[in-house]
Subunit: 186 residues, 2 copies
Amino acid sequence: MRTQKKSTLPSREVRRYLEPGPIVLVSSHYGTKNNIMTLGWHTMLDFSPALVGLVISSANYSFELVRKSRECVINLPTTALTNQVVGIGNTSGAAIDKFAQFGLTAEKSAKVGAPRIRECHANFECRLHDDALVERYNFFIFEVVHAQVAASPRHPQTLHYTGNGIFMVAGKIISRRAMFRPDMLD
Amino acid sequence: MRTQKKSTLPSREVRRYLEPGPIVLVSSHYGTKNNIMTLGWHTMLDFSPALVGLVISSANYSFELVRKSRECVINLPTTALTNQVVGIGNTSGAAIDKFAQFGLTAEKSAKVGAPRIRECHANFECRLHDDALVERYNFFIFEVVHAQVAASPRHPQTLHYTGNGIFMVAGKIISRRAMFRPDMLD
C-alpha cells in the first residue's frame, strides 16, 4: 500500500479532521500486545491542547490495553482502507494480531508507547487526560500530544458510519468563509 | 420552505443520524426565551435509551438556557439550511431572536419544553441525564426522549464542519453489510 510522508500538525488543527465525525482506528499497546479497534463514537472537547473524548466499550479487547497503558493513537483511515476498517471492527484482538491480519504497519510513535498505523492519513498520539466517566460510560478523555498528517489530499475521503453495515463517504467541500465573523475563523 | 411530515424513530436508530458527525442545531427554551445554536462537538454514548454528549460552551447564550431548563432539542439540518447554520453560528441569542431572524419555525415538541425546528430533517428531543462534566468541559450528557425523522431522503445531505468556514457535505453511501458478523448489524 502506498504511504505518504506526513508533517506535524498543530494542536488547533486536530479538529479539522475529527470534528466532521469520521470513523477512526484506535491503536493501543500494553505489555507485549498491540491492538486496533474501529471507533465511531468520539467528540472534540477542546482546541489547544486538543482534547478528544472516545467511547471504548469495556466489551472491546482494547479497553484494558488503553486503561492500563493510559495511551492510544487515533488513526484516520480513508476509503483506501474500507475493508480493513470493517474487518477490524468485526474481529477481536483477543484472537488475532490485527496488524498482521489486515496488512497494516505498526510504526513507532513520537510520544507514546502505542504504535501508530502508517497506512492512515493522519495519526493523533494521545495520553489519557481524564477518566472520570470511564466507569459510567466507557468515556475516555485524551489529550493529543502529537499529531501528524499526510500533505494530500487536503480533504481526505473519510468514512462515516451510519450503523447496519452502511457508511457515508465524505463528499464535496463548500466554503462559507465570507459569511463568518473574523473571530470565528481559524 | 418545504417541510415534510415526520415519523417517530426508535431510540436505537438515533445513532444512524448522529454517529456520522453532522453539524446540528440545538434549540432551547427557558423562561420567555427560545434560542438556537450551531454545534459540531457531539458523540453518541449509548444506544437505548439513546444517550448523546454535547459540548455547549459557557460562552454561548444557549448554555444558561440549557443548564436551567435541563432540556434541549438536537435538530438535524441539511444543505437546504447551510446559510442558516452559518448565520446561527455567527450571531448570539442575547442580541436577536434566531427563529425570527433565520426564518425557522419553532414547533411544539412532544416531550420537552424546548421547541423543535420544523425545517430540519430530524429532531431529537432531549432531557439532561448527567451533568458531571459540565463544569470541567461544558459537556452535557442527554437522553433522547423522543425522536422523529422525515421519511426521505433516506440519507440526508448533512453538513460536517472542518473549521475555518469550510464544510464537508455528506457524499456517497456504500454498504459492507456482507462483511459484518450478524450480531454487529442493527
